[in-house]
């Protein structure tokens, strides 16, 4: 359809405005203002704890450079991301089947709901010391038996099982609960359609239960991803490791490299935003499909 410029129907203009999403010109005003304030305050001669922005940006612009023999920014981000990914995958791999079980069988729900509800509010970080005691310094290198890697700088050396367990704890409950809700939300009529169609158990599982609960499952994964990112930063600031972006953040504080510290904060924020945005887009299409039907 071609409308002469300026004659766009009012209705559509409104819709476009509503759909403008997270990023907009107006949204940039506040960050730009803060940046300016920061810049001016470090210029004004007044004593300030903050390093000037250009120093922070120079750290960000050289992400491959080693920082106080703790590895580069990139290396530490990489370490944190790999840990998060493994913890998240463990949470998804274990939480999804449990969620399906609890969603589809009254017995499993009764048997597991109490434990889930009691364990869920327990902060994953509270388990870190215990986790370190249990898993000691076991790393992926040890588990895989790749002893020749032990003294090299390899990612496997940085993946401590204790850390992964804590992340798993942060991820598994949102996955379980959302999957369970998704499965429980499947309409009875849809099951009956499958039944009168002569669908077997496996077909019903793959062609009804999975697609019907997928929006909730994805919502759970998204929640888990956000939570593991929060947990890893805090976990890396605690004893038990000397790598990762959280570790670098804390270490730079200790050695008063506040420029590095601020750079770390910015990176953590950006990665978190990318995480939630990416998964939001993924879930959106199917979520709206289902919302429209109800």
């Amino acid at each position: 359809m071609s409308n002469p410029k300026g004659f766009e129907p009012v209705q559509r203009r409104r819709e476009r405005k509503r759909d403008s999403g997270v990023f907009s010109l107006e949204g940039l005003v506040l960050p730009a203002g803060l940046l300016l304030f920061w810049f001016l305050s470090t210029r004004s001669g007044a004593a300030t704890v903050l390093p000037p922005p250009e120093k922070v940006f120079s750290v960000l612009l050289a992400p491959g450079a080693d920082i106080a023999s703790s590895g580069s920014l990139l290396w530490n981000i990489y370490v944190s991301l790999v840990r998060v990914l493994l913890g998240l995958l463990a949470g998804i791999a274990i939480g999804t089947p449990i969620g399906f079980l609890m969603g589809s069988s009254v017995f499993s729900r009764r048997a597991l709901y109490l434990v889930t509800e009691l364990a869920r509010p327990l902060s994953p970080l509270a388990l870190l010391p215990l986790s370190i005691i249990i898993f000691r310094d076991t790393t992926l290198t040890k588990v895989l038996g790749l002893t020749y890697l032990r003294y090299s700088r390899h990612i496997f050396n940085e993946v401590q099982l204790g850390m992964i367990f804590v992340l798993f704890w942060g991820a598994v409950f949102p996955v379980i609960l959302d999957t369970m809700h998704g499965v429980r939300g499947i309409r009875n009529t849809h099951y009956e359609v499958a039944r009168v169609s002569g669908a077997g158990k496996w077909f019903t599982f793959t062609h009804l239960m999975i697609p019907a609960s997928l929006p909730d499952m994805l919502a759970g994964y998204r929640m888990a991803m956000g939570r593991t990112w929060m947990v890893i930063i805090a976990a890396e600031m605690l004893p038990g490791t000397n790598s990762g972006i959280g570790y670098l953040l804390r270490y730079s504080y200790t050695i008063t490299r506040y420029d590095v510290m601020l750079a770390c904060i910015l990176i953590i924020a950006m990665v978190g935003a990318v995480f939630s945005k990416g998964l939001a887009d993924m879930g959106e299409a199917r979520l709206t499909l289902r919302a429209r039907e109800r």
Binding site: R187, T189, H190, E192, V193, A194, R195, V196, S197, G198, A199, G200, F203, H207, L208, P211, A212, L214, R286, L289, R290, R292, E293
Partner: protein, 241 residues
């Protein structure tokens, strides 16, 4: 020739809040192959319960249900009241669902589903999702899904009750034409007398609590039914009275 559907002293009770609701029965009924039977009755008279028992979605507390030729996968088509389409599937895949469930190849299922959609007048809407279709179109998809496997018995549970009068009449006419081309035995549940008189070869009126058949009549009118004819009005009056 034997009956396609036979019900012998079928009864169903529901237990709720400590009490017991005698929903159905005893119902004894025999439906001939190819017959178009309308189960007519007020809301809550157990007609849906009866249909669900026929479909195997519910089991009677006592009595026997015989559906010949034997219970086989895909031999029963069922059209639900509304909202029974899968929102994540396209119209085509919704219709193909029973065939896929029976283990037919994707190609065969799609080809047959395409034909089925064509028959209900929805060619061109294969790729649409249910939320993109109107209520009437959704029920057409549901009809196509019920008939796609060429069932011996077609069961319909008030499929047009949520539609406006005009759409409903259009679909009634279409259903008549479609069914006349099939060999299926049809049981059509409705609370709408006019719909029953327009569609049925035979009308069983059900009474309330417990639901039993209080009137069973085979209609004489053959061929295309004219809603404006005096014979039609006469029939309508006799059932409404």
């Amino acid at each position: 020739m034997g009956a396609a559907i036979q019900l012998l002293e079928v009864e169903r009770r529901f237990r709720e809040n400590g009490g017991e609701l005698h929903a159905l029965g005893p119902v004894t009924l025999s439906v001939a192959p190819g017959e178009f039977l309308c189960l007519l009755g007020p809301t809550g008279c157990g007609k849906t319960t009866l249909l669900r028992i026929l479909a195997g979605l519910d089991a009677p507390d006592s009595g026997r249900v015989i559906i010949s030729p034997g219970p086989a996968r895909g031999k029963i088509g069922y059209v639900f009241q509304e909202g029974a389409l899968f929102p994540w599937l396209t119209a085509l895949d919704n219709v193909a669902f029973p065939l896929r469930a029976m283990g037919k190849s994707k190609h065969e299922a799609r080809t047959r589903a395409e034909h089925s959609l064509y028959e209900v007048g929805l060619q061109g809407f294969e790729a649409s999702h249910p939320h993109q279709l109107s209520g009437g179109m959704r029920q057409r998809v549901a009809l196509a899904r019920g008939m796609v496997a060429d069932p011996d018995v077609l069961l319909l549970d008030e499929p047009f009750s949520s539609l406006d009068a005009e759409t409903s009449r259009k679909l009634q006419k279409m259903l008549r034409q479609l069914v006349s081309g099939l060999s299926a035995t049809v049981v059509f549940v409705t609370h709408n007398t006019e719909e029953a008189v327009y569609l049925g070869h035979r009308i069983c009126v059900m009474g309330n609590r417990p639901g039993t058949i209080i009137r069973d009549e085979t209609l004489e009118v053959e061929g295309e039914r004219d809603r404006l004819s005096s014979a039609f009005t006469e029939l309508l009056r006799s059932f409404k009275g």
